[in-house]
């Protein structure tokens, strides 16, 4: 067996991952059509709301298409874990290279398909020969090729980085990749004429690709050390402090057998009272959200936790410092906060669902309303949005102060930023509970449709969020209060049946 044969064998094996084996081509075609349809719809919405010029539809659709690829194709390589590959007698370097190459090939295929789609949309608008559009599409493609390189590297080692001290490198890399694509989308859809030069895209993309290579190197080292193997039950490991400390207290409260200690009446009221269960679980989950490091030293956990928001804050201030159109800047910031909160809390929902799965029978045995358990963990998890929102609000206030000195803004800008923060908290909290409940009780196929819809909604928030907040700001206070009350009522009414279904599913999966 020659060296090349072995490489080829590994390549084929890794390539077989994404095929999904049993998935028929019809399903895949439907998948492609759905992705294309959603991208087109998003492209139309974005271009209609910002530039009102049709020459952005194709380009914006392309970036949304890329966003899809960055979510689904990158996951395809990590979904089934590293185990099958790591046991093979290949150097860890070879393993990482081949895995990255496979994901890269897939992503490139996806990019080219998207570019063809985009070109077709452009042709439909008669923009085939427009040099700006063509040039932008080519720059987009070049930037995407670089971003995909970074994404492929990160995806190859995402599982290997788990449960190591460098876990954040994987999640951060994953997030930056998607963030960059959103940045491209934003830049493409910007008001004003399309420029032909996009060096900044290439610079950012190249920096990201370099980050990916570094992450891959670190991941290879983790793979050699084998710490990723120790992740089985990692989630349980992370709630273990709670398990150990408050479990006794907790069971004490809920265990019907402890009636001997005169706790019976309390047990009864707790198990009936959904809100109290939720609050108790919320307190229990709080430690896990605020201190995600588990066994890590406290300062390290804090660094990990604050790293992302601080970077966002710095980037925000740096980018906004020389802004020419202060109002547009704030409208963007507000939209970004709400849209970002929406996206982030969607993933919080996933995290809650997987936590519940890990807790398994241990949790099932608690004699409490499971609706309260889901809601409690989700509420705790949604707190993790607050750090990011705080970074956004703080950045907004700093920018506002800076621009105020230059007499570029008015008082309402800062008010709108604060209002946007409030709206994001409300919307994000609701979305966490909703997406946790949905993830627990939905089938795989529905989940994808829902996932696309959530991303689409996030896109709408990104684009229209500023306008919504501005509207709130112009309306009189009593009206806002009315809207808030109506929102709470509708939100609670929509949530209740979903939570109920999820709780049932939890008890008998």
């Amino acid at each position: 067996m020659t060296h090349a044969d072995r490489w080829l064998a590994l390549w084929r094996f890794e390539w077989s991952r994404g095929r999904g084996g049993q998935r028929p081509w019809k399903r895949r075609l439907v998948w492609l059509l759905v992705a294309a349809g959603v991208s087109l719809a998003a492209g139309l919405t974005i271009s209609a709301s910002t530039s009102a010029s049709p020459n952005r539809v194709g380009l914006a659709s392309f970036t949304i298409w890329l966003l899809f690829g960055s979510f689904s194709l990158v996951r395809a390589g990590t979904g089934d874990g590293l185990g099958a590959t790591a046991m093979l007698p290949y150097s860890r370097f070879t393993v990482v290279c081949v895995r990255a190459a496979v994901v890269y090939a897939r992503l490139c295929g996806w990019c080219l398909l998207g570019a063809a789609l985009s070109a077709a949309i452009n042709a439909a608008y008669g923009l085939m020969r427009n040099p700006q559009v063509l040039g932008t599409l080519l720059s987009l493609l070049a930037a995407a090729a670089l971003i995909c390189m970074g994404l492929a590297c990160v995806s190859a080692v995402l599982s290997a980085l788990r449960s190591s001290a460098y876990r954040w490198m994987g999640t951060l890399g994953d997030m930056i990749g998607s963030g960059l694509i959103i940045f491209l989308c934003d830049d493409v859809a910007r008001r004003g004429p399309l420029s032909e030069m996009h060096e900044s895209w290439l610079v950012f993309a190249a920096v990201y690709a370099a980050y990916g290579v570094v992450a891959a190197a670190v991941g290879t080292r983790c793979l050699v050390r084998g710490t990723w193997l120790l992740t089985a039950g990692d989630e349980v490991e992370r709630v273990r402090p709670e398990k150990a400390e408050s479990s006794r207290r907790f069971m004490h409260r809920f265990d019907p057998n402890s009636s001997a200690r005169g706790l019976r009446p309390q047990v009864k009221s707790v198990s009936v009272n959904l809100v109290r269960t939720a609050m108790f679980i919320f307190r229990m989950g709080l430690g896990r959200v605020l201190w995600p490091g588990g066994a890590r030293p406290a300062w390290r956990a804090a660094v990990v936790l604050l790293f992302g928001p601080v970077i966002v804050f710095v980037a925000l201030v740096a980018l906004g410092w020389t802004s020419r159109d202060a109002h547009l800047l704030f409208a963007r910031l507000e939209g970004g906060m709400i849209g970002g909160a929406w996206l982030w809390t969607m993933f919080c929902g996933f995290a809650v669902a997987s936590l519940l799965e890990h807790l398994g029978d241990w949790m099932r045995g608690w004699p409490v309303r499971k609706e309260g358990v889901i809601a409690g963990f989700a509420l705790a998890e949604s707190l993790s949005t607050w750090l990011w929102l705080a970074a956004g609000v703080l950045g907004g206030v700093v920018l506002w102060a800076h621009l105020e000195l230059a007499h570029l803004t008015r008082g309402e800008d800062v008010r709108e930023v604060l209002l946007a923060g409030l709206v994001s908290v409300l919307v994000g909290t609701w979305n966490t509970v909703w997406s946790a409940a949905w993830t627990v009780c939905s089938e795989r196929g529905d989940r994808f449709a829902w996932f696309s819809f959530e991303i689409f909604l996030a896109g709408v928030w990104f684009v229209e969020g500023g306008r919504v907040v501005a509207w709130f700001d112009t309306v009189a206070w009593p009206k806002v209060a009315g809207v808030a009350v109506a929102f709470l009522a509708v939100a609670a009414m929509a949530l209740a049946p979903r939570l109920h279904a999820a709780a049932r599913r939890l008890i008998s999966p």
Partner: protein
Amino acid sequence: MQAAIECDGVGFTFARRPILRDVTVRIPVGEMVGLLGPNGAGKTTLLRILAGVLAPEAGRIRVLGEPPGWRTLRHTALLPERGHLPGWLTIGEWIIHARRLYPDWSEERERRLVDDLALRLDRPIARLSRGEGVRVGLLTCLAREAPVVLLDEPFTGIDLLSRETIASAIVRECGDGSRTVIVATHDVREFEPLFDRVLFLKDGSIAADETAEAIRARGQSVASRYREVFSP
């Protein structure tokens, strides 16, 4: 006799909890060794370290004279855990991949094992029962010519008849005197005749290391010796 596996003062800590402490052991070529101990004694960790997929924190290890790493994976077969099988393939597809992936794959052994273990090739691996999953793992391990075979809990959660099938397959594939086999298990009673030698792993260190015949010569079974070592 040359040692297949030599450990000297091996230690491992995870999340500030010591999992292995000063494990020192020497296993000659061709022995079938039982690594016995209750859950959480560190059996899985020790096997992973011997296989070269997990780096030890302390101590010195030689597997056929080499320090464990990806190179020793070429002559070491570790029974993959359930989640470490390619769930996206069917058994048949996985076999085709495995033939190309492992340089020491023997198609003759593979055919015999597919028959012996009664594997249905068209079944997707993700949907196998626990017993079938272990059998696919055994096929992956034993169809290779690897001189060191490490089996982690091949019997748990499996009905009696399948267990006997599995035990027979292990003996048949490993019984040519050149393969060194370590079986980690807490199912002592039924399978103690499978071991030439037993290592008792207690709280991460070797509590006893004896040949099975030496235990039996004292009129004791391995199971009763196990009870003696581990009962508080």
